[in-house]
Amino acid sequence: MNAPVKSPIWIDVGAVTDIPRRGARRVTSPRGDIAIFRTGDGEVFALMDACPHKGGPLSQGIVHGRAVACPLHNWSIDLASGEPMGADKGKGCTPVVPLEVRDGRLLLSLATAVV
């Protein structure tokens, strides 16, 4: 039996400019907090708000380049892939949350967020 194909439902959670450059904001969800990051170059990324190491809230870390340093133990997490970088590469991965930007608005989807 084929599972019904769900098209993602996009939910407007705010404006890109609600997030400071090199900063992050949290969005609460039934599956746990989601962190949305905005880099110095103005790109935005969404990850579940938990470091693969000890679950630290990534939204509270320092955003640098296209990475965030976890506030608990300073692991660097790649914002695009959710994977730890450098020495901690390969040690788990934070789920990426589908994010779209339309007309300066941030749209998140949970339908396919966590497998």
């Binding site: 705010g14 450059r21 969005v27 110095g40 955003v63 640098h64 949970l110």
Partner: protein
């Protein structure tokens, strides 16, 4: 029968760059095919609109920028209807109707109607003195306005056109100010680093910039503009207001005629519109969803169009864009995905001496974007590599240095490449040192280290970017005698400079912002990392307490939210208890807060105060509000700065107490609190040598004795256990405060970020610290600088946040996801 009668009739609407270039391309392919008529709304021949900026700046005249003079029209038998606006197109009857009822029939029609400047719908838009920057009439209006002595101009829009307008007006002697909605100039072409450099370069050229500025109203008197009012209430006075906020395709005629129009006139790859006899090119056209406002795509479109109109089929596939800013002496180039993106890799090069910033972006081994500031020589080369999709993995190491160096060294490993260099090859561009001079200096003067070479030849002494090359030369020349140099450790991987060099540069070169430091010290990343950014933020704060604005995004979370993050993401809150003293009221307030917010743990700390553990982030401001109401302020238990001053009860109660240690502790804490430092700073004051306050393992300690006060420094009782050293002995409480404040300031100024007092002391030596804080003049200067800095630091961060500062930090951006289907 004359030849003309067998020719097809081609009508072009638009005598601008696109229309004329289209005609030129057609003539090039088949000069005899068409009878050509061109309609132009401006009463003049075709000119290079891009060059209006230099005309405005007075660097060129109109005659210089004419592309096709009257002779061109005559030689090619083109009928020019200059100043005749077209009022309609009859697709059915294949004719164009112009002002005054003139009708011209066509077999083929080209729409090259360009674009109109976008005008913000602000109140006051119709005042005299409000202009756009689009054609020669605008330029003439601006030049006329600049003639008035002392005239001021405001330009809305910090994009390419707005900046060129402002620069031109400044050249004409006007005080020009650009207001820009975004926080980066030309943000569609530049990243933050390049945008910062551009602001500086413009300021040097008399153009001020106001960022993040929302325009609200154009104000005027007697119908003449007098200023621009911003949303924040500021009014920027001006006699001329230039609106340069973008363009919109001029597709009205096409729409009225019934052609398919979206944002622009929709065309296919052959540049054909929905009517096969009608074509469109340039800024009025929309191709595959894109409308272009730059010249290169227009040339591409015109080639494709001409192909289609001379029995071929044009195949325009869209254009990759590049931009150059035309401001004299400011080289700016941008192309492609200059800001990178997912899966991209940055290579950054800075040369502070020459004011150069270069960034190239690589994706899947190919160059996909580039921003160049200060030296855009290689812009075209990068652009060619981008458009050709060339694999650049092999030349990655030298790519950023440009075409000359890369092609000079291609295919060789670095060693072989340097070996193969001729003696005349320049190695150090800053100081003009070639390979031969370095080699001969090494051999004739017996140089063995990089520093030697630097000192003797000046190679790599300026920007340092050729350091690896100089090292290679050294290695090749010395062979086995070469030893890699071990210098001071760089701050982090973003720079080759150590902490002290950066701190010195901040003061010596008046660097007052993070982008300024990163440029001057040639950071190799666009915006630093989580290690150097907090350090730079502190160094700047320490150097310029009155001017520097703390960068919240460069603060570690604890300092950003003024609480300590715990393993589960909750926070701990520690209110200040001055000198470890508290009152029943304070204790009651703490108990009430713990109950009210269901705070799971309350603990007494080692620093004589109370820690509330497990506070939810969203509750922090409310917790602080209640503590504030009971008179308590932040204890900075999270800060790289003053933490606690521990005391014993001293002469007030203790039978052994020699001085009022509690009072002195409170006095010190009230004086020093709020100050930021390279790392945490803990103090203690003991009332007698029995030392119950454990002052001899603190960063700064005071041990009271009968004859006065023994001041201690450099203790530690954490990762390392270390007793203090005696800094000095003084007779009075006042002197104690002076010495400790001076020593604190010295540490603030000399310490490296994250370097505790004991490590700083080990590095600079106790004697050096003693000499400075005991010399009355030096001590006074240090003390005064500390007092000055405290004017801006002794502010309770909790109260500020209770009052609403950084509200967004403590509330989720959205809770809407709660309603998402699971």
């Amino acid at each position: 029968m004359s030849k003309a009668q067998v020719r097809e009739r081609l009508v072009v609407i638009g005598n601008g760059m696109a229309g004329c270039r289209a005609v030129e391309e057609v003539l090039k392919r088949d000069p005899d095919r068409y009878d050509i008529a061109i309609f132009g709304a401006e009463p003049r021949v075709n000119y290079n609109r891009i060059m209006l900026s230099p005309v405005l700046a007075g660097e060129k005249t109109f005659a210089d920028i004419v592309i096709n003079d009257e002779a061109w029209y005559a030689d090619n038998a083109i009928t020019l209807y200059a100043g005749r606006a077209v009022t309609g197109v009859d697709l059915e009857g294949r004719k164009v109707v112009a002002e005054g009822g003139l009708e011209v029939a066509y077999d083929k029609l080209i729409l090259a109607t360009g674009s109109d400047p976008f005008r913000l719908p602000l109140p006051g838009i119709d005042l005299a003195g409000v202009v756009t920057f689009r054609d020669l009439d605008d330029v003439e209006a601006m030049v006329a306005a600049s003639g008035k002595p002392g005239a001021k101009a405001v330009v809305i829009g910090g994009g390419l056109l707005g900046l060129e307008a402002a620069y031109g007006l400044a050249r004409r002697g006007m005080a020009a100010t650009v207001v820009h909605l975004m926080d980066v100039l030309m943000e569609r072409q530049l990243d933050e680093s390049a945008g910062f450099l551009l602001r500086e370069a413009l300021a040097e050229r008399g153009v001020e910039t106001v960022m993040g500025a929302h325009s609200e109203e154009i104000v005027g008197v007697d119908g003449q503009v007098t200023g621009l009012k911003l949303k924040d209430g500021r009014v920027l006075p001006c006699d001329l207001l230039v609106m340069a906020v973008g363009i919109k395709p001029n597709a009205g005629l096409a729409k009225a005629a019934g052609l398919n129009v979206n944002r622009g006139v929709v065309v296919d790859d052959a540049m054909r519109t929905s009517d096969p006899a009608v074509f469109a090119v340039g800024e009025c056209a929309e191709h595959r969803g894109n409308c272009y406002g730059l010249v290169a795509p227009i040339w591409d479109m015109c080639r494709s169009l001409a192909q289609s109109m001379t029995d071929g089929e044009g195949a325009y596939e869209g254009s990759v864009l590049s931009t150059r800013l035309k401001v004299s002496g400011v080289d700016v180039f941008s192309a492609g995905k200059f800001a990178g993106g997912e899966g991209c890799e940055d290579i950054v090069f800075r040369d502070a001496g020459r004011g150069v910033y270069k960034r190239v972006v690589i994706e899947d081994g190919k160059l996909v974007g580039s921003v160049l500031f200060g030296d855009a020589t290689d812009g075209n080369w990068y652009f060619d590599l981008m458009r050709a999709g060339t694999q650049v993995s092999d030349i990655r190491d030298t790519l950023i240095f440009g075409q000359a160096i890369t092609e000079g060294l291609s295919g060789l490993d670095p060693n072989a490449a340097v070996a193969a260099m001729p003696d005349t090859q320049e190695i150090c561009g800053c100081n003009g040192v070639c390979k031969g001079s370095i080699v001969s200096a090494i051999t004739t003067q017996g140089l063995t280290t990089l520093d030697d070479v630097k000192a003797v030849t000046k190679a790599s002494a300026s920007c340092g970017s050729c350091t690896p090359l100089v090292e290679q030369v050294l290695k090749l020349t010395l062979g086995d005698d070469f030893k890699a140099q071990v210098g001071p450790k760089p701050m982090c991987k973003c720079t080759h400079h150590p902490h002290s060099a950066v701190r010195e540069a901040i003061l010596d070169m008046d660097l007052k912002s993070m982008p300024a430091v990163m440029q001057a010290m040639e950071w190799t990343t666009p915006d630093g990392c989580s290690s150097c950014r907090p350090a730079l933020n502190y160094y700047l704060l320490c150097a310029w307490p009155a001017e520097y604005r703390d960068d919240k995004q460069s603060r570690y979370i604890n300092e950003r939210v003024h609480a300590n993050i715990q393993k589960d993401g909750t926070y701990s809150v520690v209110p200040r208890m001055w000198g470890g003293m508290t009152t029943p009221d304070e204790l009651r307030a703490i108990a009430d807060v713990a109950d009210k917010f269901a705070i799971p743990a309350v603990k007494v700390t080692g620093g004589q105060r109370i820690d509330l553990l497990g506070v939810k982030k969203d509750d922090l401001p409310a917790v602080w509000a209640d503590l504030n109401a009971a008179g308590m302020v932040s204890g900075h238990a999270y800060a790289k700065g003053l933490r606690t001053v521990k005391t014993c009860v001293g002469s007030d109660w203790c039978r052994f107490g020699t001085q009022d240690s509690t009072g002195l502790g409170i006095r010190l804490e009230k004086f020093l609190w709020g100050s930021w430092a390279p790392a945490k700073v803990k103090l203690a004051v003991s009332g007698c040598p029995r030392n119950c306050a454990e002052a001899t393992c603190k960063d700064f300690g005071v041990v009271c004795v009968d004859s006065g006060y023994e001041i201690h420094i450099g203790g530690a009782a954490g990762l390392h256990i270390q007793g203090t050293k005696v800094l000095t002995h003084v007779a009075s409480e006042d002197e104690t405060v002076w010495v400790i404040a001076a020593a604190m300031q010295l540490y603030r100024e000399e310490g490296w970020y994250l370097e505790r007092v004991y490590k700083w002391m080990a590095r600079v030596g106790l004697e050096s610290i003693q000499a400075k804080v005991t010399d009355p003049e030096t001590r006074k200067a240090l003390y005064d600088r500390f007092v000055f800095s405290q004017r801006f630091a002794r502010i309770d961060p909790w109260a500020e946040r209770v009052a609403g500062r950084h509200n967004e930090e403590f509330t989720p951006m959205s809770r809407r996801m709660e309603f998402a289907p699971a």
